[in-house]
C-alpha cells in the first residue's frame, strides 16, 4: 500500500527538512543521500559512513554523522534496535506497558497505550510460532505545535 519512493521524492523530502532547519543543500549531502538510497537491508551508522567514504567522493565521517538525524527526520532512514545494542531502556515492570509517540522537532514524548496493538502483536507473533517477551514501538513525527511553526517559517529553530 505504501509505494517505493523514487530518487526525486527522496531528494524532495530531504531538502524539505534542510529548508525547515535553514540548512543548505550541498554536494556532500547529495552524495550521502545517494548512498543511503542504494543501501539495502540493515546497517549501522558506521557502516553507512564507511560506504560513503569508499564510494569515492571524499566525504568525511563527521559529515555523515552530522547528516544522520536529518535523514531520519526526513523519513529516509529508519532507526532500529535489532540485536539489543541500545543505550536506552525503560523499566518493563512498572505499570502497564506503553509505547511512545515522539516529536522529532521538539523532542516531546507522549506515552501511548493501545490495547489493539498488543492484541495484534500477539496474533502476528503466534502466526510465526513466536512467544513474545517484549517489544519496542515508537512512532516519530511532528506534534501539532511544531507543524504550525514549520509552516509559518522555514527558519524555525531545530528545537
Amino acid at each position: 500500500m505504501r509505494q517505493r519512493l523514487n530518487a526525486e521524492a527522496a531528494e524532495l523530502k530531504f531538502r524539505e527538512v534542510l529548508a525547515r532547519h535553514g540548512l543548505k543543500w550541498t554536494a556532500e549531502r547529495r552524495t550521502i543521500l545517494a548512498i543511503v538510497r542504494s543501501l539495502p537491508g540493515h546497517f549501522t551508522a558506521d557502516d553507512l559512513a564507511g560506504h560513503v567514504q569508499r564510494a569515492g567522493a571524499g566525504v568525511s565521517r563527521a559529515t555523515v554523522y552530522r547528516a544522520l538525524p536529518l535523514l531520519v527526520e526526513a523519513g529516509l532512514l529508519q532507526p532500529m534496535v535489532l540485536g539489543g545494542e541500545v543505550r536506552r531502556f525503560e523499566n518493563a515492570l512498572s505499570g502497564p506497558h506503553h509505547d511512545h509517540l515522539v516529536c522529532t522537532a521538539c523532542g516531546r514524548v507522549v506515552e501511548i497505550e493501545v490495547e489493539a496493538f498488543e492484541i495484534l502483536q500477539r496474533e502476528v507473533a503466534a502466526r510465526h510460532g513466536f512467544r513474545l517477551s517484549s517489544h519496542v514501538h515508537e512512532l516519530y513525527g511532528t506534534c501539532a505545535g511544531c507543524q504550525r511553526t514549520s509552516e509559518r517559517s522555514a527558519d524555525a529553530p531545530a528545537r
Copy 2:
C-alpha cells in the same frame, strides 16, 4: 490488561533466563535486579550502572553491562530508541515498510508487514495531533525452534 510484575515474578523470569544459559544466580545479579525494578521511566545503560554503583553494594559497571542483555531477554528491561541515538538503521525507501520479529535466543529476524499496524498507528498519531514520518516496531521473543530447545534442556547453547 497487563498486570504489574511483583518481585517474585521478576526474579523468576530472570533466573529462568540465567538457567537457560547455564549462568548463575549471584548476589550482584540480585542487586542489579532490585535496582532495575526500582527505576521508573527511561534511563540509559550508563544511568543504570550509576544507580547500581551508588546504591551501595560495590557492583562494578562491567557487571551491570554484562547483565543488560540478560535483563532484556527476561523481558525486565525494555530497549528503546527515543532521541534518535541509535547505531543501526534500515533504508526506509526500499520496498514497502516492514516491522521485525526477533528471536532473542537465536537472533533470527523475521520481517513482517501488517497493514493493520500502519492504520492503527496513523490513527493514534492523529488523535494526538501528530503527523507521522516513521517508526520503530520490533517484537522480541523466542521462535518455535528455540522454545523447544529450552524446554528440553536448560543447558542449551545461548545461540
